[in-house]
């Protein structure tokens, strides 16, 4: 009888080791969800995903020259840094398969230089993968001198594969001020005023 219990206990250790491996694997799985989610978003256009990399031009894609799709432009400034950011045109009528350029204007209303990253998003989400940018100010960080205002182009085309039911595609840009810890002097002092306040993500 005693023998039997000890045999049981040994195999208990083996089960435990296997389960521990499962736990470690699932910890990895949590991280694996990140690239999996990105691939999933790319394929399905989940959550307004739109690629932030340059795509090749339309080339000589087949398309219907009579088809018209409305592209709407909106711009948002994230956070409380002093910026203005707006589209030059609120909408354009485009033919899927042809190349167009739209402009956005950003102004750093702050006297020191700073850096921004502009992030695109498309609504409806499922149209995201059919919206291709060949050139965009969102591909890289944008540096702004103090009080600089800049007109920035985005060159894009809508893939003719865009489903018929999508008559409008909204291209939304959000501007994030991403300057690092080297805040100009007066800002740092002002920050002292709010000592103990929660720090922002960066």
């Amino acid at each position: 009888m005693t023998e039997e219990t000890t045999i049981q206990r040994r195999s208990g250790g083996r089960t435990a080791a296997k389960m521990a491996l499962v736990a470690v694997g699932m910890f990895g799985f949590g991280f694996a969800m990140v690239p999996a989610y990105q691939v999933f978003c790319e394929v399905t256009g989940f959550n307004g995903f739109v690629s932030n990399e340059a795509s090749a031009g339309p080339g000589d894609m087949e398309y219907d020259p009579d088809r018209k799709v409305t592209v709407e432009f909106v711009a948002t400034v994230n956070g409380s840094q002093p910026w203005t950011f707006r589209p030059k045109q609120s909408r354009m009528e485009v033919t899927p398969g042809e190349l167009y350029t739209a402009y956005f204007v950003a102004e750093n209303q702050y006297e020191g230089s700073t850096v921004s990253q502009i992030i695109p998003s498309v609504a409806p989400g499922t149209a995201g993968r059919h919206f291709k940018k060949t050139e965009c100010f969102c591909f890289t960080e944008q540096r702004f001198a103090g009080s600089e205002q800049r007109k920035m182009p985005v060159t894009f085309f809508v893939d003719p594969a865009l489903p018929e039911r999508n008559q409008t595609v909204t291209l939304s840009y959000t501007l994030f001020d991403i300057r690092d810890g080297d805040l100009p002097e007066y800002d740092e002092e002002a920050a002292e005023l709010h000592a103990g306040a929660p720090q922002s993500a960066d």
Partner: protein
């Protein structure tokens, strides 16, 4: 669907009644009332679909629930040992088990069909006639009419704001539409398919007006879309529905739906204000009287600053520093101005550059002189000073 027909009939008749009693002005809906227990049928086809789906499912689950209760209570009454019940010994019946697996499955299938149809309808924003962009902030909303060039912020109204303080001057019960009223409501036309584009400035919020039938999260960096076509002129109230920090409860939403003519008139008025009337605009840099500055400043303070920095400028904890006796407030003028214009990064102090020069001059003057801050005697900020600092 019988349910649908009934609902439609009910909606139509209540709508007719409502028309009789209201003169078409921005009437309050009677859905919001004490002891309210149910979802609104609302004023959009989406809210009505949601309502009928809700009622259909509600009745189905109620019947199931009553059956479960009845079954248990019957057993409790009938099969008690004290009544001499003898226990049976059976413990299995394949037939019965198949039945109560299959029947709920079929019922669910029956609900899934209309639910799917409703979802397809909700996602279809095509054929819209106007677009409103909604941006969530900690803790207010920004509305932008894409084609009309109208743009404004919408915050908790002043009375609610006063009543929601600890030890308030007025009691919540004395405020009309306490916590459900704003300074600038979203004005839209009826019978117009409106597309909403939703995003946020800081954290995730959720834009919800029950009578429009849905809520949608506003996510920083991303844009969502939704739509509504309001059938009845009226005022419809809602709230932010996603926890967004300290004042999550204090960023209501008010939608005023007007007839098409009234809406056109409102748009014209707004555009005139933006283009013509410069009295409240940044262009007027003429000096103001100290008294006027203080009065305007107090107004601005109550609406914009009091929630965090408190009525007596005493602040609140480390997050919201005191302004009374503050070095920063009483120190260098330029630095003081820049705090308001630029905000303080890394803190909850946002930029208030969106206020007019006059409003900023007012609040700068007010804070510099209120609560015993005026020892050095009447330090005034004029609109031109603010313009210089921009």
């Amino acid at each position: 669907m019988n349910q649908n027909k009934l609902t439609r009939l009910f909606v139509a008749s209540t709508a007719a009644l409502a028309m009789l009693f209201s003169a078409g002005a921005a009437a309050e809906s009677d859905w919001r009332r004490p002891w309210g227990v149910n979802l609104p049928e609302g004023v959009t086809s989406l809210s009505q679909v949601a309502y009928s789906m809700h009622m259909l499912t509600f009745w189905i689950v109620t019947v199931i629930g009553v059956a479960v209760f009845a079954g248990v209570f019957f057993s409790v009454w009938k099969y008690r040992k004290s009544q001499g019940a003898k226990p049976a010994t059976w413990h299995h019946s394949t037939t019965v088990e198949i039945v109560w697996t299959a029947v709920p499955f079929l019922i669910l299938l029956g609900i899934a069909v209309p639910a799917t149809q409703a979802m397809i309808k909700m996602e279809d924003t095509s054929g819209y006639e106007m677009t409103v962009k909604v941006t969530g902030y900690q803790w207010m909303w920004e509305y932008e009419y894409l084609d009309e060039g109208i743009h404004f912020y919408s915050r908790l109204d002043r009375d609610s704001d006063r009543a929601r303080q600890r030890n308030p001057e007025i009691r919540p019960r004395d405020v009309e539409h306490y916590l459900l009223n704003v300074d600038n409501p979203l004005v839209v036309p009826v019978n117009t398919k409106i597309r909403f584009l939703l995003t946020a400035n800081d954290v995730i919020h959720s834009w919800w007006v029950p009578e429009l039938g849905w809520k949608k999260d506003t996510i920083p960096g991303f844009v969502n879309e939704a739509w509504a076509e309001i059938q009845e002129p009226g005022t419809y109230r809602g709230q932010c529905a996603e926890l967004c920090g300290r004042d999550h409860a204090f960023m209501p939403i008010v939608v005023v739906a007007k007839t098409e003519e009234d809406y056109e008139a409102w748009v014209a008025e707004q555009q005139e204000e933006v283009n013509g009337d410069v009295a409240v605009d940044d262009d007027d840099l003429s000096d103001m009287e100290m008294d006027d500055l203080m009065a305007l400043g107090e107004d601005v303070y109550d609406n914009q600053c009091m929630a965090c920095h408190q009525a007596g400028g005493e602040g609140m904890g480390d997050m919201f520093p005191a302004l009374a006796g503050s070095d920063k407030v009483l120190g260098d003028r330029d630095e003081y101005k820049s705090i308001l214009l630029d905000g303080v990064s890394g803190t909850t102090m946002q930029s208030f550059a969106s206020l007019s020069n006059q409003e900023l001059a007012g609040v700068l003057t007010y804070v510099r002189n209120a609560w015993g801050n005026d020892d050095d005697g009447g330090d005034v900020f004029q609109p031109a000073d603010v313009e210089d600092a921009r």
